[in-house]
Structure formats: structure tokens, C-alpha cells
């Protein structure tokens, strides 16, 4: 990508504009109204591959093809899509790319928070206008959701279960009747074809607002799993680390597969509660230790190595990140981490450097 922008993180539709264009060109399958690509092309955009004309599409999602197919098929019907999984399983990532591929616009995003009210989902008012001219369409400030309905695009809603239940219920009318009533003006906004919603939710947090069964019924749920095999996870970490490294303009330092492998092993072992060989039982810390976290640990390690070290990622550079990722609860997790260091890391032959580096951190 030649035209380097100054943006820290370009939107998916900008970063992968070339791929999207190439796909649109060769895509001869029927497209639903207002879709930029056919469902078939969307699936290929996410999973990557080499097209018939030689265009190489980078894979955005590593893992089960079936999941993505079900997700895309859902969006092509009129049910909304709910991606659910523990933090760091690429829910937001997939939703962004789906929106980019289908509508060419991943910006219609509402971040769900515990303190939000209905207006954030529906529309707000420009109060100066409202006061001077009274309620009119000009005085309305449309929410991303409303915009998506008007333009027939995909809207995104992050952290659906963080939103209070009464606010969640606003979605029911939008999703089943496909209208957004505006009682103040005695009108309504009718959704155009192509409108749909991708919501994400994580099932790890306690105290979330469970969806009512009425709302749940409007969604098709896709459960995003953690990578099933070691190789798959290493592959994900490696690809993403390289990518992020480029966009953060880190001095070129190739994270060695060896380090990635060690890190992924640690994460998988602690997460799964036993060592990879299945012989030793381990305690699991409260941290989720997702693949996304592994990626960020490697990234920060790389930054350390590039700016303060000799440019190659070493055990010392990783130690701080790993410790931070594992020890979320200063008392409980620390004990677990220490136990793991003493019983597992110490015993492994070529892990001595990592053991010493981590010990120093504690």
C-alpha cells in the first residue's frame, strides 16, 4: 500500500480498498439489493485466497469457514447477526470487515455502554435548531443506526450486553418492523433494503444485561471460538503482529516464531488449565488470555526491542507484557503465575531466559 496515510488506523474499507475493488470486478454472482458484493465474494474477502484472475486476497479471519458462511448468510436474510465470544476472539474485527465488504462502510458504529440512553440508538436533537425553529427534520441528529436504515447499509453495535435492558428493547421494533418511529414529528424512518445490524457481545463479563428472549429471537447467534490448535493460533498471532507492526511504524524487527510459539504456549496452557502435553494440571488466572492479547504482548515486546534493545525480540522484552497480561488480580493471579513459572517454565530446557526475565518482574 503506497499511499501511506497519517491515520493511526485506517478503516477496513480504506485499508483493503484494492481487494474490495478487485473482488467487485470478478464477482458475477447475484448481489442482494444495496450490497457491494455478493455473499460469496464477502465470504472470500474474509477468508482470503487467490481468485480466478490471480488477485490475492489476504485472509482476515483464520478459522472455521462455516462460521463466516453462517454469518454472511444471516446478513442476507432479515435477521440481525450477533457475534458472541470471550474478549479477543475477533468479534469486532469480523464485524468491521463484514460491514466494509457489504456496505463499503464500517463507520456506522454505536459503542454500547452501561450509561447510554435510547437517543444514542435512535436520534438526538440539535438543540439550537430545536429551540429556534421547533421540531423539524433539520433539527434531528441521526444516530449511526438511523443513517444505516436510511441508506440501506450495515450498522454495527459493539458490546450489546453492556447496554441497559430498557435501552436494548428499542432495537426490537427496529429489527422486527424495520422502522424507527419519530413521534415528535409524527413520522417514521423506514429501513431501506440492505439494512442490517451486526452486534457483538462478550460472555465473559459478569453483571451484563442478558438479552430478553424477544430480542434474542431477532438475532442469529454465531459463537466465536478460541483458536482450536496451536498452529492456528501461532499463525494468527504472526500475521497480525506483522500487520500491526507495519501500521505502527515500528522499526523492522521480525518477531521470531520461537518467541511467538512460547507465548502462545503459555497462553494456551494457562487458559486451558493444563500443559500442552496434557500431563500437568494448572490453575487458570482470571485474565482471559485471548489471541488478541497475545498479539498485543508481542507488539509491545517488539516496540521494546526496537527502541531499547538490539532489535530482535528477546525474553526480557516479552516478560513485562506477559506478566501484565496474566496477572490481572494482584493477589490471586500472582500466585498462579508464580506457580506456573516454578513448575512449568523453570523445568523447560530452553526456557531458562524467559524464566529469569519473568522472575525479575515479580
Amino acid at each position: 500500500m503506497k499511499n501511506k496515510t497519517k491515520t493511526l488506523r485506517p478503516h477496513a474499507e480504506d485499508a483493503y480498498a484494492k481487494e474490495l475493488k478487485a473482488l467487485a470486478k470478478i464477482d458475477d454472482k447475484p448481489r442482494p439489493t444495496n450490497w457491494n458484493l455478493s455473499p460469496w465474494a464477502v465470504v472470500n474477502y474474509l477468508l482470503g485466497g487467490t481468485m480466478e484472475d490471480g488477485t490475492v486476497i489476504e485472509p482476515k479471519y483464520f478459522g472455521n469457514r462455516r462460521l463466516i458462511e453462517v454469518a454472511v448468510a444471516t446478513l442476507a436474510t432479515d435477521r440481525a447477526l450477533l457475534l458472541i465470544g470471550i474478549p479477543g476472539t475477533a468479534k469486532t474485527w469480523v464485524s468491521e470487515h463484514l460491514a466494509a465488504a457489504i456496505s463499503g462502510d464500517s463507520k456506522l458504529l454505536v459503542q454500547g455502554t452501561a450509561g447510554m440512553n435510547e437517543d444514542v440508538l435512535r436520534y438526538q436533537w440539535n438543540y439550537a435548531q430545536l429551540l429556534s425553529k421547533g421540531p423539524s427534520e433539520d433539527a434531528m441528529v441521526a444516530s449511526p443506526l438511523m443513517k444505516a436504515m436510511q441508506d440501506g447499509k450495515i450498522a454495527r453495535l459493539e458490546e450489546l450486553t453492556r447496554i441497559p435492558s430498557d435501552v436494548q428493547d428499542t432495537l426490537i421494533t427496529i429489527l422486527s418492523e424495520k422502522i424507527l418511529p419519530v413521534p415528535e414529528l409524527n413520522t417514521e424512518v423506514q429501513a431501506q433494503r440492505g439494512f442490517n445490524l451486526i452486534a457483538t457481545a462478550n460472555n465473559r463479563d459478569k453483571g451484563v444485561n442478558e438479552l430478553s428472549s424477544a430480542l434474542r429471537r431477532r438475532f442469529n447467534t454465531v459463537v466465536m471460538p478460541l483458536p482450536s490448535t496451536m498452529e492456528e493460533e501461532i499463525n494468527i498471532v504472526k500475521t497480525r503482529v506483522d500487520k500491526i507492526g507495519q501500521s505502527l511504524e515500528l522499526p523492522a524487527s521480525v518477531a521470531s516464531v520461537h518467541e511467538i510459539q512460547r507465548l502462545v504456549t503459555i497462553f494456551r496452557e494457562l487458559r486451558g488449565g493444563k500443559t500442552e502435553d496434557g500431563r500437568t494440571k494448572l490453575k487458570s488466572p482470571s485474565a482471559t488470555l485471548s489471541t488478541a492479547e497475545a498479539i498485543s504482548v508481542i507488539n509491545s515486546g517488539q516496540a521494546l526491542a526496537a527502541h531499547f534493545g538490539d532489535g530482535t525480540l528477546k525474553a526480557n522484552d516479552l516478560a513485562a507484557g506477559v506478566t501484565g497480561a496474566v496477572v490481572k488480580d494482584p493477589v490471586q493471579d500472582k500466585v498462579i503465575w508464580q506457580e506456573y513459572l516454578e513448575t512449568v517454565v523453570k523445568e523447560r530446557k530452553d526456557w531458562k531466559d524467559l524464566y529469569r526475565a519473568c522472575k525479575e518482574m515479580l
Partner: protein, 748 residues
Amino acid sequence: MTTIFGIRHHGPGSTKSLLRALQNLEPDCLLIEGVKDAEALLQHIANPGMKPPVALLTYNPKDFSQAIYSPFAEFSPEWQAIKYGLKKGISVQFMDLPHEVVLGIKKQEAENPFQLFGEAETNEPKSFTEDDKLQKDPLGYMAEIAGYSDSERWWEVTFEEQENPEDIFPSIIQIMRLLREELNRPDPPMEKRREAFMRETMRKAIKDGYQNIAVICGAWHSPVLEDLPKYKASDDKKILRGIKKVKTKSTWVPWSYSRLSTKSGYGAGVISPAWYKLLYHNREEVGVRWMTKVARLFREKDMDASSAHVIEAVRLADTLASIRQLPIAGIGEMYEAATSIFCEGHESQMELIQNKLVIGDVMGAVPPEIPVIPLQQDFDKSVKAARLSKERNSTDEIIKELDLRTESNLKASHLLHRLDLLGIKWGKAKKVSKFSKGQFKEIWKLVWQPDYALKIISVSMWGNTVYEASVNFVKKKTTEIENLPELTQLVETALKADLIDAIPKLVKRLRDLSAMTTDVEKLMMALRPLIYAIRYGSTRKLDVSSLERVINEIIPRICVLLPNACVGVNEDFTKELFEKILDANHSISLMDDEKYIESWNKSLDQITRLKNVNTLLKGGCLRMLFDKKIITVSDAANEMYLMLSVGNDTTSAANWLEGFLHGSGLLLIHNMDLWNILDKWLDEMNFLTFQNLIPLLRRTFSEFSAPEKEKMLELAKRGQIKMINKKEDFDLKRGEGVLDTVRLLLGI
């Protein structure tokens, strides 16, 4: 004229096309790929009592492992074709190589491994490794070319899921011809023989004067049968010449969808019989019906599933199919859509209904008129008498509780035990609980497998009724067993199965074996089943007097042998031995017979006195005696003090403690003498010794329950406890004053 119809076994699509084609063709003779020896049984298909899935079972009456099943479902092309033929009253024949010949070849090959039969295979390489897969699944090759991961799916999409006009058959022959040329693989010799035999049958049918012959065979064979004129009759005859037949018998047996779903016997296995059934009967609305079934099954499991769910799921499946560029949604799309809509993405929930949904719980039936062997008849009768017909006709796993006091349940118990002995594991007995075995209740887990039909035939060599067969079987086994515990197990089962006629022989063998056995452990292991049999025999209406005689001999033997057997036993073995002694102690106490108990106690006492006996056993035996009040508290305390004194090494002291306290900390809590001795022992120990002992002590104390441990902790906190001198402090007169009130309260 001869017309070849290449079909896929059990493919509902080819069934429909085939039937239409037959109606147009109106043939006067049907030749069907099925083993020739079973041809006589074809007529039964018209019987209204015949309910598919059923299978033709062809077996060698001298060796039941040599059997094949040819299953038919109602959607199988062969089945529908035969029905059509029988209805029209035309000649219907099987044309595949008879099983008699197949077995004959196998037998000859086994006898003369180096002699090859038939000229055709002289250049045959002996082993296939590389194209082994190709040979098993030639259609997989075609599917792979078409970009499908499995051949079933490819066939489904290409031929079965679309409504094909009947003229697909010439094109199937064409495809197969190309495939066979392309592969150019050497045909396995057996396949050559089969195809030669098929052609011979065709020639014979033509010679017999049939004008319009329809040949129905697996698609793979279709080209070589169409090319009939290209093959010389003499060549085919040569291939088949000189084979000695092995006599076979055939019968119809009920089959089930779950059996049909695995690869078994004849032709292709089916991934989802329930799906095929639906495709056959309701091709137009297969998706809607499938999803409705999903919803209904989930409702049975008390999960929410509304009609709106069904609608959404059907639409999602259709959309998925179009993304995958398939003409209609297949079972894979259905499954994934259902997972997403009904289960919110959690596949584990789908597993709840998996069996009923994908495989289906259909069980076939065979009318009683079909000739069966006497044992089978007796079995059917016994099932009826035991009121197990419902369980016999279901494919589900059923838990059945039997109350042995009722006549029919007792019969059921006898039958299940007999079948179990004969190796027909229809029912699995669940343990009620360790010590209530043999009482009135029995719990069985019943799962009927269709291939038990063969097992029944195969055990018919033992007798013509279930009872007779199991008696003979047990008698034979009796002479073979050399090991006492195994024999007592057999006695126990034989008693439960009520095999009275086998008992005398068993008991005699039991006495012989126990007399020769010097291994006291084996004697002890044999003891429990025997004692249980006697003790609970009356519930089962057994005559157990002969067993009592055996026990009369065994117990004294154990008592004599045991003390010496305890000497010089190594550590690992000690634990096992201890368990067995505990077990024997329990069994003998159950006997409640003074003379046994006395000699047993004597032998226990001896163990505690012997030298070189592991202290675990010593402690354990002392405890058993203590429990029976043979030794007094003060004796026990003395012994404990002795064993735990400084002179003994710490390991043996800890072992002794473990043995003495096994299973119960209550003794410690309530017996202050003992507690104080232990307390003092610990107190006087130096730190290093204590450290060495801790693991052993932990082992003992970990077996106690949590409240027991808590109580001990409390005691330990209080320090040394002085015994209250009960007699001196107690004023009887003052005490009696309370009694009146107590009586009033208790209402005595």
C-alpha cells in the same frame, strides 16, 4: 432387450427415477444386485407384515462369523423395484455372486494360499495400499473432480436432490464408463467374479426367453453389464469354474436406521437415513419438514422453539446453500442453520437431538410367518413372556427397573442374564449399590441391536431354547475355567439366570477347584459371590443348599491359610490383600454362623501376633477384632501404645495406625484412651521423625470425613484430655429424677 439401471444403494433420488423408468419400460423380468442364495426369500417382500428397514441375512451355519447382511430401507431403489416387480407379477431375480461361492473361494484361498483360482487374476498384485481408498470408494474420485469433499454429497447434489428425468440412467452409465477407463485400475478378483456372474445371470434370463429385462445394479457395475455382448460367455464361465461352494442359509431380520447409517455389509452406508426418508417422501418441502422436526424435538427437551424459529432456520439454510452455490440446501446447511437459530450457536445443544434427528429411530419388523430357527422362536416367546416386547422393538436406550418379586420381572431378569451369558449383550446390569446387590431390585440398561439376530442364530448350536442353550454353554465353560474367582462369578450369574441344570456340574467343579487352590486370595475373592448367592437366594427362589456345602469347605481353608499368607508380603501387595481381608470379613459376618465367625476371628487374632506381618494388616485385623468386641478398649490401647512406641520405626507405626483407623475417625474421637495415646505419641516425637511421618499420617487422615477431621482438630486444640471418672461422679438417685419427664416427652 436389456436395460441397465445404475443406481446408488439407498439413494432416494435414484429410487424415484428408477420407478418412473420402470413404469415406462414395463419389463417382464427384473434382475437385481443381491446375493443369489437368498433369492427364495424375495417373495416375502410382498408380505404386509414386512416393515423396512429389514436385512437379508446370509450365513454359513457352520461358522457364524461368515455372514453378510443386505439391508433394505423403504427408500432403497432395490426394495421399491422388487415391490414393483412382485406387484406386477413379473419374474424378479437376484444376480449377484452367491455367498456360497464367495465363502468357497475364501475357504480355498485360506487352504492353499499360493494357488490362485481362475486365470484372470494371475497378474494380480498381492497387496493394494496406494489405491486402497480408490477401490473402496471409486465414486469419491468423481466427487473430487467435481470439487466435493465426499462422494455422498456430490451424488446427492448431482443426481438425487434435483428431480431428474428418468433418462439420467444412460448418462450415469456414460459417466461410470469414463471413470472406469480413466482409473484403469486392475479390478479386484472378487469384483471380476461378481461381474462375470451378473453377466451369466443376464445371459440365462435372455435364454429363458424374457423379452424386456431390467437390470438394477450399483452404478459402478453398470458399464460392464451394458457391454454384455463384448464379453465372451466362455470367459465368464472360466472365471467361475472350479469353485467349491460352502452351504449357506438365509433369513430376513429386522434392521434399524442406526445400523443403516454405518457401513455394513452390502453397498453404501448412509449418513442420515432420516434425511433420506424425508427426501423420498416429501422432496418438495424437505427443508420445512426437517426444521419442524428440529423444533418439535427441541420442545420435547423443554427448550424454546417457535414456528418463527423454523421459518428463520429454513431461510438461513437456503441462503447458506446459495452462498455455497448448491442448488438446494443439504443436510450440512440444515444442521448449521439449526445450530445458529435454535441453539444460539452452541453445537452441544444440537447433540441432544442428534440421534433422533439425523439417524432417526426407526426399527423394522419381519412377519412371524417367515421361517426362523427354533431358538429364535423360543427367544420371541420368552421376550413376550417377560413383557419386554416394547424394549425389543425400540432402538432407544431404555432403563428398566425389575422387581424380582413379580413373576414377569423375574422372568425378564432370567432372560437377560441368560442372554448375557450367551454373549448377547442386549441388557447391561447396573449396580444398584455395593451392598444391596442381590436384593429385590435390578436395573438394566437395554439397547437392542439388529445384529443380535445373527448372534441368536450363532448360539443356536448350544440348544433350541434360550434356557437349554445357556445351560449347555455354561456347562462347557465350566470345564474350561481354571481360575476360582472366575468360576464363582459364573456360578453367581448362573444362579441369577436360574440355570438349575447347570448348577450341579458347577458346584462340583467349584469344590474341585477350591480344593486345589492354595492361593488364599483367590479363595477370599470367591467367597463373596457365594455368600451373597446363599443369603439372597430366597428372593430369587433358588435352591442353594449345595452351595452351602462348598462354603463349608472354603471358609475353614481360608482361616487356615490366611495368617501365613500375610507374612512377608511387600508394600504394594499389602494394600490389595488388606482390601480382600476387609471384604472377606464383611462376607463372613453376613453368614451369621457362629462356627465360621469364631474360626475367622481366631485367624485374625493370629495375624496381629505374627512377626514379619506388615503392620498395616496387624492394625487392620486388630481393629476388626475391636469392632466385634473381642478385645477390650484397654487391650487395644495397650497394643496401640506398643505399636506406636519409640522402639518401632516410624513407617511401620504409621502403617499400623492407618490399618487400625481405616475408614473411621469416629473411634478416635469417642475413645479418649486411644486419643490420648496418639496425642502423647505425637507429642514425644522429635521434629525430624515427625517430618518423615507426615505423608503417611496424611494418608490415614485424608480418608476421614470433613466433620470428623473438624472434631479432631477441636480435640487437639484442647490439649490432653483427662478421662472423667464416670462412676465416682455420678449420682444415680439424682439422675433418676429426670426419667419421668423423659418418659412423658417420649410418650412411653
